[in-house]
């Protein structure tokens, strides 16, 4: 007997301890008053809310410690609402904690599993009912039903087809053509090489004709960055060098990682940085990726000048711009 391991025993639910408000009428009255006061504070909150809505002008700003310059209308409207809500909660909980019964009670659980006879009865019923419907026997019906249900499941997919056009080769094309002028963004002014000092950057777009404003979906592929270095700073293949003009090099501004605008140019290091995931591109080496998650250099746009001396594209981009996709071949 003494060798057997005995676990420590459960002493059972401890006896209930009465609160002060259960036994002392003075404490009970006090608790009652406290609950009432909390409800009243809430009511005051609603009044503040209504007052702020109608009577505090919307353009009054004042200095509030911690918050700084604060709009009075918004602040007091919000504080009133917060007060109104919070103190209803505080009152209810204080009420429950001081005045409502707080004796712990025990209820029994039942296992989730049904009684064996119920389970057997269910199986029997299902078998019998299914048998009556002849599901097991009528395989012709079963198969044709499977076919029709399967097919009807396709109809929502068919209906969703018109959500959008097929991509076709849309992702591989931009508005840049041979001879397209580069214009400033914003401003839409054609630019000459002299407009750009060494070390400067400019965002440009292809010149746009017609009354309609540019579509955002065009900008999403057309945006280009111009950067001017000293020509001897380039470390480019002869072909890529011929795509630059007098130290000006042009890259797609749409990140080759996930398509953010590559916006930050560091003059001293000559790096382009994408703020989204910090892919870093080395400008003198044709925007080669030197850091970050992007796997490809920014596509370079071949540029030159036209007879009037304005910068133009020599030819369209030689590869798709923006993030990778399945059909992209390079």
């Amino acid at each position: 007997m003494s060798n057997e391991i005995e676990a420590i025993k459960d002493p059972g639910l401890p006896a209930h301890v009465h609160r002060k408000s259960d036994t002392d009428p003075v404490a009970e009255k006090r608790a009652e008053r406290q609950v009432a006061i909390l409800f009243l504070i809430s009511a005051l909150g609603t009044l503040l809310f209504i007052f702020a809505y109608y009577f505090i002008p919307e353009d009054v700003f004042f200095f509030f410690p911690v918050l700084g310059n604060t709009n009075a209308h918004q602040l007091f409207l919000g504080l009133g609402l917060a007060m109104a809500l919070f103190f209803i909660g505080a009152a209810a909980i204080h009420w429950a904690k001081t005045l409502m019964p707080d004796e712990e009670v025990i209820a029994m659980r039942h296992t989730m599993r049904s009684a064996d006879e119920d389970r057997d009865a269910l199986v029997a019923t299902v078998k019998e009912r299914a048998g009556a419907a002849g599901l097991g026997r009528r395989s012709l019906i079963k198969r044709s039903m499977g076919l029709s249900l399967g097919l009807i499941g396709l109809s929502p997919l068919v209906l969703l087809r018109d959500l959008g056009p097929l991509p076709g080769d849309d992702l591989t094309k931009t508005s840049w053509k041979a001879g397209t002028r580069l214009v400033t963004d914003p401003g839409d002014r054609p630019i000459r090489p002299e407009d750009l000092e060494v070390g400067a950057v400019a965002q440009v777009l292809p010149q746009h004709f017609g009354e309609e404003r540019r579509l955002l979906s065009d900008i999403a592929k057309d945006a280009v960055l111009l950067i001017r270095l000293r020509p001897e700073e380039f470390q480019l293949s002869p072909e890529r060098l011929s795509w630059t003009y007098d130290g000006i090099i042009a890259f797609s501004k749409i990140c080759s990682h996930m398509g953010c605008a590559v916006a930050l140019y560091e003059q001293t290091t000559k790096h382009l940085l994408c703020p989204c995931h910090q892919s870093t591109f080395d400008v003198p080496r044709a925007a080669k990726v030197i850091f970050g998650p992007s796997a490809r250099a920014l596509p370079q746009l071949a540029i030159t000048v036209d007879s009037e001396g304005y910068l133009i594209a020599q030819k369209p981009f030689s590869e798709p711009v923006g993030p990778s996709f399945w059909e992209r071949s390079t």
Partner: protein, 528 residues
């Protein structure tokens, strides 16, 4: 009978004669709910959802879900005359022209953050206490579903104002869709009604954000709560509490008043945040334009870990037979999250396979008593935390004057190194806590009083702990490792030997505990 009782009686009779509700009500008004602060976490999630429904409905009255281009002529001077989408302009109007509009926008956004935080912390409490064990696996899976949909819903909501920041987020989501092998570009063109950004996307996600997903949420939350109700709540071990009973307070009146009151507290706190804490000041970002970006782009925190994974991904891309597979997007954007969430959803089944335990459990585990589970949880959290921190690597770099590259390289290593360390450390801590519990039961509490023994030695006086506490510290089970033989009774090697070996190894690791004290131990000490 007072007049009031008569009226109540008449109404109750009217309803019961038509619904037969009296029997059900009688039973359920006295239903017992165990009380513990950690049981409030799920409630916070529930109440934030209600707040989201209320504040969101208010916002729909003025928000214009359209990418049609308009010229802004509202009262916010810096943006006057700018071209922008109607969605952005109407969000500005809600902020500046509609009284209470900004308050509601901020309440809505704060409620979303609280909702997600509450779900995550609630999930942690369910995980670390083992509340997901049989019979509650369905609720665990519904919970993981709610978490996943919550992330999607939050992201879509964040995208609706169509400002520069949120547009950048959509751009990244589009890149993930487009990265899918074979079907990616098709799905992207269907989702956006053509080339990005187009004019179809905002109206579409609006419908998903305010109708489709909230409907699914409502259905899932209803089932979730019905199951909690029907299966009865779990409870912490303690005196008088067993696997067969539930100890707590009856629904009416105290529990009802507390839960109802708590709704107002959560709403009040959210309203307070909406009043004083500015969140997502979209007027500072400007309208979306794919050629621009605001430096230091940050998603909400529940997306931050995903962003952090994307940022630390290596620059890998395959080009095969003229097709491109961008691993740098697929791995962090789809594959890793897919593995994480699938593992999370399946965890209850994995654990019961390892322990071989197919019984119902209604008493919660103290996390220290299940060291491996607790350590695995700490390990997963560490992984997510490293990812989340890397999501803010630019901010960390500027605040601490580090190079971005340094922070990124740190994360790339830390994501592999820190989680296993967290596992080992947590497991050690659990075992020491078990040891401390054992000491406490056997030798009592240190009082700080010193006693001089006859021969001059000082000893500290220990005070025995109460039987209630002693029970609480020893009520848990300590199951031995599974006896899994590599060969069966007839000496034949079992099929699936590798799987068996794995299961055996984990089961042995699981059985590593500090033996809990027994009455025999206590008696033995008394003899000395």
């Amino acid at each position: 009978m007072t007049a009031r009782e008569r009226v109540a009686g008449t109404v109750a009779n009217y309803v019961d004669e038509r619904t037969g509700a009296a029997k059900w009500m009688k039973k359920n008004l006295t239903k017992v709910f165990p009380d513990h602060w950690s049981f409030l976490l799920g409630e916070i999630a529930l109440y934030s959802f209600v707040i989201l429904l209320l504040s969101g409905t208010f916002l729909t009255f003025w928000y214009d879900p359209s990418q049609r281009e308009v010229v802004y002529d509202g009262s916010y001077v810096p943006l006057q005359g700018l071209h922008m989408s109607a969605a952005y302009a109407s969000t500005l109007d809600i902020s500046f022209e509609i009284r209470g509009g900004l308050l509601m926008r901020q309440i809505h956004h704060w409620a979303a953050l609280i909702f997600m935080a509450a779900i995550v912390v609630h999930l942690m409490r369910v995980y670390f206490t083992g509340a997901f064990r049989k019979p509650r696996e369905f609720n665990w899976i519904i919970g993981v579903g709610l978490l996943t949909l919550g992330i999607v819903e939050g992201f879509l909501g964040y995208s609706l104002p169509d400002d520069l920041l949120s547009g950048t987020g959509i751009r990244i989501a589009e890149a993930i869709i487009q990265a899918l092998p074979v079907v990616g570009t098709y799905l992207a063109y269907f989702a956006f009604g053509g080339a990005f950004p187009g004019e179809a996307f905002i109206p579409r996600i609006f419908t998903v954000h305010i109708l489709l997903l909230p409907g699914i949420f409502l259905a899932l939350i209803t089932v979730h709560l019905m199951l909690v109700w029907y299966q009865k709540h779990t409870q912490w071990p303690g005196p008088g509490r067993t696997e067969k009973n539930v100890v707590g307070y009856p629904l009416m009146p105290a529990y009802m008043a507390k839960a109802g009151g708590f709704f107002f507290i959560v709403f009040g706190v959210t309203a307070f945040l909406g009043a004083v804490a500015s969140i997502n000041p979209i007027w500072l970002y400007g309208p979306y334009n794919p050629g621009q970006v605001s430096a230091g782009s940050q998603p909400d925190w529940y997306m931050g870990w995903l962003d952090g994974l994307v940022r630390m991904a290596p620059p890998l891309e395959s080009h095969i037979f003229g097709y491109t597979i961008p691993w740098n997007i697929l791995i962090p954007g789809l594959i890793v999250p897919g593995i994480l969430f699938t593992g999370l959803a399946l965890y209850p089944f994995i654990e019961s396979w390892i322990t071989g335990d197919k019984r119902e459990h209604h008493l919660l585990d103290r996390p220290r008593n299940v060291p491996n589970r607790t350590a695995l949880g700490a390990m997963s959290l560490t992984f997510m935390l490293v990812a989340l921190v890397n999501g803010g690597n630019d901010i960390i770099a500027t605040t601490f004057h580090l190079g971005i590259n340094q922070v990124m390289w740190f994360s790339r290593f830390a994501i592999f190194i820190l989680p296993p360390i967290a596992f080992a450390v947590t497991k050690r801590i659990c075992l020491s806590l078990q040891r401390a519990d054992r000491e406490l039961v056997l030798h009592g509490r240190e009082t700080g009083r010193l006693l001089m023994l006859p021969h001059g030695e000082f000893v500290e006086v220990h005070e025995p702990i109460s039987p209630e506490l002693a029970w609480k510290l020893t009520a848990h089970e300590q199951a031995p490792a599974l006896a899994l033989e590599d060969v069966d009774d007839r000496g034949v090697r079992r099929a699936g030997g590798l799987k068996n070996k794995l299961r055996k190894r984990i089961s042995q690791a699981n059985a590593e505990t500090i033996a809990k004290p027994t009455l025999n131990d206590l008696k033995e000490i008394e003899h000395h």
